[in-house]
């Protein structure tokens, strides 16, 4: 008992271990050897290969995990496919009951899952117990509700089909929940592959699914490394791929699935800013940093890894931070009084220490607390890097460890500029007691989530996902459901196309005499007209003066347009970035769209005549198209100030504002539908939402677009809001798809062109929306207008604003 006397003086902390016994019993019960869960059964890996799962806190092997082969993946996808029709056709209420049962079971076995997670992953039991597992249960509860409400709240939407999901090792069970809950709620069946370093909670979850009687094949868990993931994501019978992980792998998946018609959502890396203004509650800021970068050892995609602090308070903040870092406790993840656990594995540990060493070589001051890290297991101490600049490698690359950099700023404007000086755009945290300032800054930051005076807050009701190279798609909230459903008409069209691939669409352009063979074919009677490119609100000659003749169905030359090249695209993108359209209010944008209709109406006859000349349709048909276009302009004008956000019900005293924001600079490669209607139907929604557009008119009807720029000119549309580059569609589409300063591209063209656009989009991981060669009926409301256009023209940014005084 001398120990008590000593502690009485020193007031040391002692060990406070959470017992791993129930987890050990479970592992032993499985002989520490696991298979795949396929079609409601446990199966050994097809080729018998297994690999160890290691506890990173002591480097001990804890289980042998099955390595999924291509045949295993085939079996799992086949099981999911077989289960799909019955699961899809279940009433929402029946699916809700299953999800509710899963949520209940998670809650009832919460401690087991928490201990297993910490044992396998190395994260502190405090976090798995108080954060990960409660969020898992919450996610299933919330989505049980969406299953119940799908028919009513998402009318016309149907499930996507079989979903292949690949998740990372940093939040194994939580990422599983984020993937599986919405997929099942919307009526999809799932094949999920956990990260090879952390498979165990997914396997325990499979047992739980079995116990609640989930129909076989609805959830399949297949384990293995990147090879298994590659087989799953490229499997021909997978309709949708959802991936969370590194940008590097996300890029590979985008490339590999290009042109496959698979729906894709990617939640990738980040280098999220943590902005501290000089009026912030600095002690709370310090705890915010703890939650931002020392949560889960900093192995968090949205970790606040870049502190940006007002220059005047930087010294005080650094002093306070260092004092706090001294009191953090690192060690056995199963100790209940531990703040920081173990890094996932040796590779990651070496990556972290390598980057910090490089930072030091580049001139950074490296500060770590005086206490020593445990030496057994993979540990890295909390680290603060000062004397760094935006040019430093450590300020640019995702370290994915407990390492934070600190840079100062002078003004709010500079803070925003520094915050956005990154390829990523996942999250940001803004600290100020001045809500005017915080709510001014939040929309200016390019990130999917902005936390005001808080950080790393998650909830099933709020969407989470990125801008830029942090990926696309949202997880959580209503906005997350769109990733797991699609319009009924599209599903039917796809099914028809699959059953009977259409003959290649007739391409009159190809039938007409080649431009090169008859370069002067465009010389016409009357005064020669020269439609130009439309860039930055001005008519511009093509960079290289070549023209393309546009012919009527009878082969007569109707006019000529310039043949745009990559430099015209470059100029158009620059003009789009310089435009002011996005800053206009919804009301202002509506006025301009109405005004375009107003200015088009008196010229209806002229446009109808042009439509006739171009297409050979009857006068009545041409007039119908002009009228439909005028109506559509009114429709998008009407919506310009009505595509509202939401206030999500997250279980905190706060408002979580889900704000639709324009994506930014969008390329739109226009369809060959009705010339006027289909052009306006694609550019108007993008403009209504506040995007700046580079439009490539269809090869057949570019004259329609060039006729329109005169209307734009007289309608107060600011220069650069829309830019028109005529020329060869797929040639220009490629340049746009590959352009790193274009934020999104819509492509309405061939299947091959769609594949090419998706493949080339990986440079900056721009959002893509392609037709896969399917043709829309632009006169049918559900195909030609509406919600999907808005969703593809906006990002949802969630801004969390806790309140209270």
């Amino acid at each position: 008992m001398t120990r008590i006397r000593e502690i009485f003086e020193t007031m040391e902390y002692g060990p406070a271990p959470e017992s791993p016994a129930p987890v050990i019993t479970w592992l032993e019960g499985h002989d520490r050897t696991f298979g795949h869960y396929i079609g409601g059964e446990w199966r050994d890996p097809g080729d018998g290969e297994r690999f160890p799962s290691v506890n990173p806190s002591n480097c001990q092997e804890i289980a042998q995990i099955a390595q999924g082969s291509a045949a295993d993946v085939d079996a799992a996808v086949a099981a999911a496919r077989a289960a799909f029709p019955a699961w899809r056709d279940l009433p929402g209420h029946a699916r809700a009951r299953y999800l509710y049962a899963i949520a209940r079971q998670i809650q009832k076995h919460a401690r087991f899952f928490a201990v297993l997670e910490s044992h396998d992953n190395g994260k502190p039991i405090r976090e798995s117990r108080d954060i990960d597992i409660p969020l898992v249960a919450r996610h299933f509860y919330h989505h049980a509700g969406w299953a119940q409400l799908m028919k009513e709240q998402l009318p016309g939407q149907v499930p996507v089909g079989v979903v292949g999901q690949v998740i990372p090792w940093n939040f194994p069970l939580l990422m599983l929940a984020w993937k599986i809950a919405p997929a099942l709620a919307m009526g999809n069946t799932v094949v999920l592959k956990p990260a090879e370093l952390t498979s165990l909670t997914a396997l325990a979850f499979a047992e739980l699914c079995h116990e609640v009687g989930l129909p076989p094949g609805v959830v399949n868990i297949i384990t293995g490394d990147g090879r298994t993931g590659a087989a799953l994501t490229t499997h021909p019978d997978v309709d949708k791929v959802a991936f969370t992980g590194s940008t590097q792998v996300g890029r590979i998946i985008r490339n590999a699935t290009a042109g496959s018609g698979k729906k894709l959502s990617l939640e990738l890396g980040g280098k999220s800013p943590f902005i501290v203004f000089d009026d912030a509650d600095l002690d709370s800021v310090v705890e915010g940093v703890v939650d931002a970068i020392w949560f889960n050892q900093g192995q968090v995609c949205c970790a606040g890894s870049r502190i940006l602090v007002h220059e005047g308070i930087a010294a005080r903040l650094i002093t306070k931070l260092k004092a706090r870092m001294e009191t953090l406790r690192q060690g056995d993840p199963l100790d209940k009084a531990i703040d920081i656990g173990a890094i996932i594995d040796k590779n990651q540990l070496e990556t972290i220490s390598g980057l910090v060493d490089q930072g030091a070589r580049d001139g950074a001051t490296v500060w770590q607390p005086s206490w020593a890290c445990p030496t057994e297991g993979y540990y890295y101490p909390p680290t603060l890097l000062t004397d760094v600049t935006p040019a430093s490698t450590v300020c640019q690359v995702e370290i994915f460890g407990p390492v934070v950099t600190l840079i100062t700023f002078r003004t709010p404007k500079e803070a925003v500029a520094l915050a956005n000086n990154t390829r990523y755009g996942l999250a940001a945290s803004v600290w100020s007691e001045n809500l005017n300032l915080a709510l001014d800054v939040a929309p200016k930051i390019k990130a999917g989530t902005v936390w005001v005076n808080c950080t790393n807050m998650f909830d099933a009701a709020s969407g989470f996902g990125g801008y830029r190279e942090s990926g696309y798609g949202r997880e959580g909230g209503l906005e997350g459901l769109w990733e797991y459903c699609k319009p009924g008409w599209l599903a039917e069209a796809k099914a028809r196309a699959k059953a009977a691939p259409p003959a290649p669409a007739a391409a009159p352009v190809d039938e007409s005499p080649s431009d090169d063979a008859h370069p002067f074919a465009g010389a016409s009677r009357g005064i020669d007209r020269t439609p130009k490119m439309y860039i930055g609100g001005k008519q511009a000659r093509p960079d290289a003066p070549y023209s393309i003749a546009i012919r009527s169905p009878k082969g007569e030359v109707v006019g000529e347009v310039g043949r745009g090249n990559r430099k015209d695209i470059r100029n158009a993108v620059e003009a789009a970035h310089a435009a002011s359209w996005a800053k206009k209010t919804g009301h202002n944008r509506a006025q301009v769209l109405y005004y375009i209709a107003e200015n088009l109406a008196p010229r209806a006859e002229e446009f109808a005549g042009r439509i006739q000349a171009l297409t050979g349709v009857s006068r009545g048909e041409a007039e119908r198209e002009v009228n439909a276009t005028l109506e559509l302009l009114f429709y998008y004008a009407a919506f310009a100030d009505k595509w509202d956000g939401r206030v999500h019900h997250t279980p905190l005293r706060n408002v979580t504002l889900a704000m639709p924001e324009p994506i930014g600079v969008m390329a739109i490669v226009c369809p060959e539908g009705p010339p006027l209607l289909s052009f306006v139907a694609t550019i108007a929604p993008a403009l209504a939402m506040g995007n700046h557009v580079i439009a490539v008119p269809s090869e057949r009807w570019p004259l329609m677009a060039t006729d329109l720029y005169q209307v734009f000119d007289t309608s107060d549309l600011p220069g650069g809001a829309i830019n028109i580059v005529t020329g060869h569609r797929d040639e220009l589409a490629k340049v746009l798809a590959a352009h790193d300063d274009v934020d999104a591209i819509w492509y309405f063209g061939s299947a091959e062109g769609s594949a090419e656009v998706e493949r080339l989009s990986t440079g900056n991981m721009k959002r893509t929306w392609v037709s896969d060669g399917l043709v829309r009926d632009w006169y049918v409301a559900e195909q030609g207008r509406g919600e999907s256009f808005f969703r593809h023209a906006t990002h949802i940014k969630n801004i969390w604003v806790p309140y209270g005084e």
Binding site: M1, F8, M11, G14, A16, S284, N453, P802, Y803, E805
Partner: protein, 327 residues
């Protein structure tokens, strides 16, 4: 102002002399309620103290108790019993079993109304337990000012070594920091060598920002301790309030070098709560703030629960309150 009068190495920190009221500093104090509540919520969940550590921490908690009786029906007999308990807070056989019988464990102080200072002084003679008196028209603090000064002087003259004053809440609520500063300066002067604890009555200050600012003003005016509550408000010591106050203490020390003590009071009745509070003090301010010189619990029923937990530690069986001598 950067005066480093003491460091963590010096065993007895130099007493806070106070400083001129710095209104710019006071007004710059920020307290973000939601962020503070989040941090406070994780203090009990981030730290867990078990087995021998728990026993040692609970013994340490006892030495930080201002064992208190502040009731209208207090009598000399009741106060004598309280003081006897303060001298011998834990059954001797338990202290033997814990190996700490020779440490002379007592509570830090006994806390009474002015009327019973004399009784307490006699009962505690030679024990090392301080006599603490609440003062200045406790609990509302709305008596005439000269009376309040007189009350302090009388209590000091009667032998109180520690004076717990209550601030005029109106000064904080109306933002009249000058008036609060002047009031506390006067109390400090009246205390002479007696230690001054300033009760903010945080449950009546409405906002954490007010708590932070009032804490700072009291320290500027020369408080030795800042204390949450009288125990008579509807909301007393809470972890969020404590976080704001200990952060104010830390800031004051960082900027002036002077060390101020902290006393949460009211509503702390379980052994488990004391562990969270001690963890808060240790992590936010350091080990010196887990000792009675710089940390007190104002409590009346807390000791009983700690005794039962200590007996459980010794015997492995859950204990009952009747097995421990009452105060």
């Amino acid at each position: 102002m950067m005066v480093h009068a003491s460091t963590s190495d010096s065993p007895i920190p130099e007493r806070n002399p106070g400083m001129p009221l710095d209104l710019a500093w006071v007004r710059a104090v920020q307290a973000n309620l939601s962020a503070i509540e989040r941090r406070a919520a994780t203090i009990p969940t981030r730290r867990s103290v078990k087995k021998d550590w728990q026993a040692a921490w609970l013994l340490r908690a006892i030495t930080c108790i201002d064992l208190t009786t502040l009731s209208g029906d207090d009598t000399p007999g009741r106060v004598q019993r309280l003081c006897a308990k303060a001298r011998n807070p834990v059954r001797g056989d338990l202290l033997e079993a814990l190996g700490v019988a020779d440490l002379g464990i007592t509570t830090a102080a006994a806390c009474v109304y002015h009327r019973y200072i004399e009784t307490a002084r006699r009962a505690l003679e030679g024990s090392g337990v301080s006599v603490c008196a609440v003062s200045t028209g406790f609990p509302a603090g709305l008596n005439p000012f000269p009376q309040k000064i007189g009350e302090i002087k009388a209590s000091v003259a009667a032998g109180a070594q520690e004076i717990d004053i209550v601030i005029t809440r109106a000064h904080a609520l109306t933002g009249d920091w000058q008036a609060l500063y002047d009031e506390v300066c006067a109390y400090r002067e009246a205390c002479g060598d007696a230690h001054l604890k300033t009760i903010l009555a945080t449950g009546e200050l409405a906002t954490l920002r007010n708590v932070g600012r009032a804490s700072l003003v009291c320290m500027m005016a020369g408080a030795d301790f800042i204390k949450t509550s009288t125990g008579k408000e509807s909301v007393n010591a809470t972890l969020p309030v404590s976080l704001v106050m200990v952060r104010a203490i830390r800031e004051y020390r960082e900027r002036t070098g002077y060390t101020i003590g902290y006393k949460p009071a009211g509503g702390i009745s379980s052994a488990k709560q004391t562990l969270a509070w001690l963890a808060l003090m240790k992590d936010e301010l350091g080990v010196p703030w887990t000792h009675g010189e710089l940390f007190r619990f104002g409590a009346s029923s807390l000791l009983g629960d700690i005794e039962r937990q200590l007996e459980h530690h010794v015997t492995g069986r859950y204990s009952a309150s009747f097995r421990h001598p009452m105060a």
